[in-house]
């Protein structure tokens, strides 16, 4: 074991951290806006990645437009799910469990639909800034990974501003924290929930587009992404996008150190055990914010 190896592992871990964080951010956004845990957030990523591949390769669109198509597809799926499934269930006041079962069922369905329509192959996208790598202290990091980290941070900043400074952002929070109160001051709660799903879907799709050049996109990768993203979000206190980044870093870095120090087969055991310990011992997340138990 040498220092180059540790640096290399940390950089691999750093990249993974932001992948988990991006999924976690989407989960946090949807939980914050609807009090629903979305077990198909990883499948928004699959939709976004697949549609971008379709736009770029099959439809021959320029890269930017293909990405726009992917993000639009994620947003549209979010809206569709809200209108078709969530709305009727809210109307009959379904339990927490029912929403979880719904999103698990949707994850299963979307994965199967992508398999049916798009096939079982894994697809790659060219990286942003090309497929090159940069060398840092003898270790390598792809240029795209640096873009991924930068864009993730931009998303977090954007969300921070959105939720604090814009009417829409504030209304979306109000609608979930106190639906009756929000209604009484003229906020359309159902519409805000729709916006939340659109936002969550778009962030999920963006995550998918950003990870595809690194790990490729295929129909069955959704659930795995969701679980790691959820771990990141939980560590961050579940409603806080910045917290999800912090959570992602803890999960991603401890995983990569587990590979160096332990057998790599137990990588996920380490990540998930951290998540379980956090849930039991620090139920409000690393940042200690409230609003963890709600539902």
């Amino acid at each position: 074991m040498n220092s180059t190896l540790i640096i290399q592992s940390l950089m691999a871990g750093l990249t993974n951290s932001f992948v988990y964080a991006l999924i976690g951010i989407g989960i946090a956004v949807i939980y914050r806006g609807t009090r629903i845990i979305n077990a198909m957030q990883g499948d928004f990523a699959v939709i976004g990645g697949m549609l971008t591949v379709f736009g770029l390769v099959s439809a021959g669109l320029p890269y930017v437009w293909a990405c726009a198509l992917g993000i639009a597809a994620g947003a549209a799926s979010g809206l569709l799910i809200d209108v078709v499934c969530v709305r009727p269930m809210i109307r009959r006041q379904a339990d927490d469990e029912a929403f979880l079962l719904l999103t698990i069922g949707l994850a299963f369905t979307i994965s199967a639909a992508v398999l049916y329509i798009g096939g079982r192959e894994a697809h790659l996208l060219p990286g942003i800034g090309g497929n090159g790598t940069v060398e840092i202290a003898g270790a390598f990091m792809s240029v795209h990974a640096i873009f991924l980290i930068a864009i993730s941070l931009l998303v977090v900043c954007g969300l921070w501003l959105f939720y604090r400074k814009t009417i829409a952002g504030l209304s979306m929070i109000a609608a979930s924290v106190d639906p009756d109160g929000a209604t009484s001051i003229g906020i359309n709660v159902a519409r805000m929930r729709g916006y939340t799903f659109v936002l969550g879907g778009a962030i999920g799709a963006l995550a998918g587009i950003l990870v595809t050049p690194l790990i490729s996109v295929s129909y069955q990768m959704g659930l795995g992404l969701t679980l790691k993203g959820f771990a990141a979000a939980i560590l961050g206190g579940l409603t806080n996008p910045l917290g999800a980044v912090l959570g992602g870093l803890v999960i991603g870095l401890s995983e990569s150190l587990a590979v160096v120090g332990l057998s790599s087969g137990y990588k996920d055991v380490v990540a998930l055990t951290i998540m379980l310990l956090m849930m039991v011992l620090m139920p409000n997340g690393l940042l200690g914010k409230a609003g963890r138990r709600g539902g």
Binding site: A12, S216, S264
Partner: protein, 373 residues
């Protein structure tokens, strides 16, 4: 009522027309149990293509002694439980004479407990596995045993003078091969300087790849059926040669490797760009039927049906299963390689069965090297 999925090409009518049969010919039934969905579908689907091609050609040329060949196609979803259920259906309800498949090792081990007591021949797309299989003399193996795969890879490492070798393997297929390879280092003068495993479901193995790279190996052997490790090895800047087992020598996986695919060496069997004389006919027929080049999994599927039919033709049409099993047990020249089903490993492949290919821009080209015992 059978709920199973049946694929039955409209060939019997054609076959009857060709041979001018007067009596309604009772089809000869064999089962094909493949993993066409689930984790092994990347292997099962090409095997199915080969199986269907063989069936079509056989029925176009008079079937099995005048009777059409019917293949009952079942998918085990890459799941050994499902394989057990399906094999029971094929054997007990459908009365198939032989089984082509399964795709996976676990499935092969599982169904052997059903077919062996009945002496029903099974032509599996796996190498001989755990000890229990040694006694199963009607389960034949269309692909090399793990020890042979390991030797083929190490032969090439030795050839290029690699002394320090890194290994990156997945937790499924790769782990099984590594189990055998780990004991062969001394025999080939190779030291395994770093061995790393990643989960079958992993979408990223960069950390493991980094660990392998950090050991500064002369060459890296990859044991996997996934594209992920190749991409990751290149991402961490590995420049040493990569030697890979035949599982990743398919156009589909190579495509998923992206830029990383260049300069990977595979120890494999069918280089369709430059086929060996005994492979030319199969490659031509396949290309005519499907409009693309086959790899060895398609060839194995084709060979399994052809070898079964050859045995059926030698046995009488109502031969008992053990007689048919006896007829399969013979040397057979396939498109995959020269088989010898009388061999102790029930497949008879040897180091000289292997060809070595180099990948350049998604195309395989033949390397001059040939391994010998």
């Amino acid at each position: 009522m059978s709920l199973g999925k049946r694929i039955f090409f409209g060939a019997p009518a054609l076959a009857m027309a060709l041979i001018g049969a007067s009596a309604a010919a009772e089809p000869v039934r064999i089962g094909a149990l493949l993993s066409t969905t689930g984790g092994l579908a990347g292997l099962g689907i090409p095997q199915r293509d080969g199986v269907l091609l063989a069936q079509k050609l056989i029925n176009a040329n008079g079937g099995v002694g005048g009777e059409p060949l019917e293949i009952l196609m079942e998918d085990d979803g890459s799941n050994p439980d499902a394989a057990m259920t399906k094999v029971n259906t094929l054997v007990h309800s459908q009365g198939v004479k032989a089984i082509v498949g399964p795709t996976g090792i676990a499935q092969t081990v599982a169904i052997g407990s059903v077919t062996q007591p009945l002496n029903i021949p099974v032509l599996a797309f796996t190498g001989i596995g755990p000890a229990v299989e040694n006694a199963r003399n009607c389960v034949f193996h269309m692909t090399p045993a793990q020890g042979l795969n390991a030797r083929a890879l190490l032969s090439y490492a030795k050839e290029i003078g690699a002394k320090r070798v890194g290994v990156l393997h997945d937790s499924g297929y790769g782990q099984v091969i590594w189990g055998v390879m780990s004991k062969l280092g001394d025999e080939f003068g190779v030291e395994f300087v770093q061995v790393e495993k990643f989960e079958l479901s992993a979408s990223d193995a960069t950390a493991q790849a980094a660990k392998v790279k950090a050991s500064e190996p002369d060459a890296v052997i990859v044991l996997s059926s996934l594209a992920t490790p190749f991409r990751n090895l290149r991402q961490v800047g590995l420049t040493a040669p990569i030697i890979s087992v035949h599982g990743t020598a398919t156009y589909e996986i190579v495509k998923a490797m992206g830029d990383a695919a260049d300069n990977i060496v595979h120890a494999e069997f069918l280089i369709a760009e430059d086929p060996l004389p005994y492979q030319v006919e199969f490659v031509a027929e396949f290309q005519k039927e499907y409009g693309r080049l086959p790899k060895h999994f398609e060839a194995a599927g084709y060979d399994a049906v052809m070898a079964t039919v050859a045995a059926l033709k030698r046995a009488s049409s109502n031969a008992a299963p053990d007689a048919l099993c006896q007829e399969v047990r013979t040397p057979y020249q396939g498109a995959f390689a020269q088989y010898d089903f009388t061999a102790k490993d029930l497949g008879g492949l040897t180091l000289s069965s292997f060809s070595y290919s180099l990948l350049t821009k998604g195309k395989f080209s033949r390397l001059p090297f040939k391994a010998s015992q």
